[in-house]
Symmetry: C2
DNA sequence: CCAAATAGCGCACAGCTTGTGCGCAACTGG
DNA sequence: CCAGTTGCGCACAAGCTGTGCGCTATTTGG
């Protein structure tokens, strides 16, 4: 899962498609100095290799009525295999939890939570997260403003 | 920026496109029970309204050689308008900083940082973040495992 | 309560895009 | 030095996109 070699054309294509995947192969070709047909072939290859995992529409959170986002750190009581599984199930079940990471540091898990408003967020914390038998501590930072939000990855080298 | 009314077809289209924006209007139409032409029109409208902000390729971090991700909390000394600006410039300049949020809570900013490895990450923290005159404290949680990583948003109602 | 206006639909079609076959040129290894 | 391989652009068939059109259902206004 690591032995794929990407030349400068591949990196250029990935960089452009990451910002805008709705471009035609002609437009893409112009930007990376390659013919449309070759763009098509390289795109197909990058998809097959798994470098491109898929294509998504980026949606506007406010238009959909989500006004609140937060970074929530969670500490657990025990760290047995099955203990965590039960907690992970909780995370998976709730659509409000957009990202959940097992981390090394002060906390055990870090979540990125999205909600309609503070009430909905508070409900989630107090009625679902804190009552869980394995949760010992929950600390949240409410997002006030997004300074930077790059979708995707930087280009290496 | 909030008065847009979306019917069930719009929500269905958004939900599908968020998962896979490479579908043709025919395929999209099948899934949401609408003709291709109508899908095309609604898509165009949702783009114009700003509900769809754009289209992106999802890339594989490992293929590009990024093995380390972290959530980093930063505290600043002063909170003047211009003080923050200078710090924000630092964040914008570094491609390693993928997301940066101004937050309310224990910290002032929360960052989502991506790096090749621990060395590169440590370099960033010690040679760029901590030396900044306005930074007073930096605390990081290294991501061990991603339990959930929804790209995009849940569908309301 | 009914008529006019509006909004939203599918169909048809012109123009454009996609992806493959092909021939060519540039490297690669024996 | 030469056969094999790789990667390129061109050309073209198949398929997709987006707009004009006519139709129907819903809304508006008198």
């Amino acid at each position: 899962m690591h032995g794929i070699s990407l030349d400068r054309y591949d990196l250029a294509i990935l960089s452009v498609l990451q910002k805008n995947s709705a471009l035609t192969n002609s437009e893409l070709g112009e930007r990376v100095s390659l013919s449309p047909s070759q763009c098509s072939r390289r795109k197909a290859r990058l998809e097959a290799e798994g470098v491109i995992k898929g294509y998504s529409a980026r949606l506007d959170a406010n238009s959909l009525g989500f006004g609140l986002r937060a970074i929530t750190r969670v500490n657990l009581k025990a760290h047995g295999e099955s203990m965590d599984d039960d907690f992970v199930t909780l995370l998976t079940k709730h659509a409000m939890v957009r990202e959940a990471y097992s981390v090394s540091g002060d906390a055990d898990y870090v979540l990125h939570v999205i909600a309609k408003d503070l009430t909905e967020f508070s409900d989630f914390i107090h009625h679902h997260l804190l009552p869980h038998p394995n949760v010992t501590q929950v600390r949240s930072e409410i997002i006030l403003r997004s300074m930077k939000e790059e979708q995707g990855l930087p280009m290496p080298k």
